[in-house]
Amino acid sequence: ELKVEQNPLFLSMQEGKNYTIYCNYSTTSDRLYWYRQDPGKSLESLFVLLSNGAVKQEGRLMASLDTKARLSTLHITAAVHDLSATYFCAVDSFYWTGGGADGLTFGKGTHLIIQP
């Protein structure tokens, strides 16, 4: 069974601080996705990481992927209140299922609160 674990699950931080969210997954995959979800809203795609060593940045968010360690990180730089949301990482199950399915397996999400 493919497992995706995020930590922390809950994070409260102050504006201006830096922090990292970690995403570990249990089996081979070289495609990892980060999504953002605001309360009562749907999922918004942030990053797609497609290869070992991939790094992508958008504003104050930067995501990286280490397929050998089966680890992705989402780094927040100089946090601002608008980044408060729940962040999910997800792994494509294609390799796990031998190509039989293309659904994503999600972590439980990191609920991030950034206080002014």
Partner: protein
């Protein structure tokens, strides 16, 4: 352009009733996915359609759940004899292509919030 749309946005039903949830994917997207989001289980993959091909049903939680996709576009998720544990947000997503070789992001709709009383 228009994103993934879902209807209804909210549905309250009584235990034992059947419900139908609709998803209209982004135009041109061949792959369509259904997920369920609940407090207890988080985000779960339910079913996947690639074009007009027979769907992969591996994620459906029980035989009360079924889904179809007409003409390779609109999809309907049907839950028969609903139970209270079916209460969740049902999310639909679509992507340009759904093969294992694709690099396509899945774009999510706003979801249908289902409450079974």
């Amino acid at each position: 352009g228009a994103g993934v749309s879902q209807s209804p946005s909210n549905k309250v039903t009584e235990k034992g009733k059947d419900v139908e949830l609709r998803c209209d994917p982004i135009s041109g997207h061949t792959a369509l996915y259904w997920y369920r989001q609940s407090l207890g289980q988080g985000l779960e993959f339910l079913i996947y359609f690639q074009g007009n091909s027979a769907p992969d049903k591996s994620g459906l939680p029980s035989d009360r759940f079924s889904a179809e996709r007409t003409g390779g576009s609109v999809s309907t998720l049907t839950i028969q004899r609903t139970q209270q544990e079916d209460s969740a947000v049902y999310l639909c997503a679509s992507s340009l292509a759904g093969t294992g070789l694709s690099q396509e992001t899945q774009y999510f709709g706003p979801g249908t919030r289902l409450l079974v009383l």
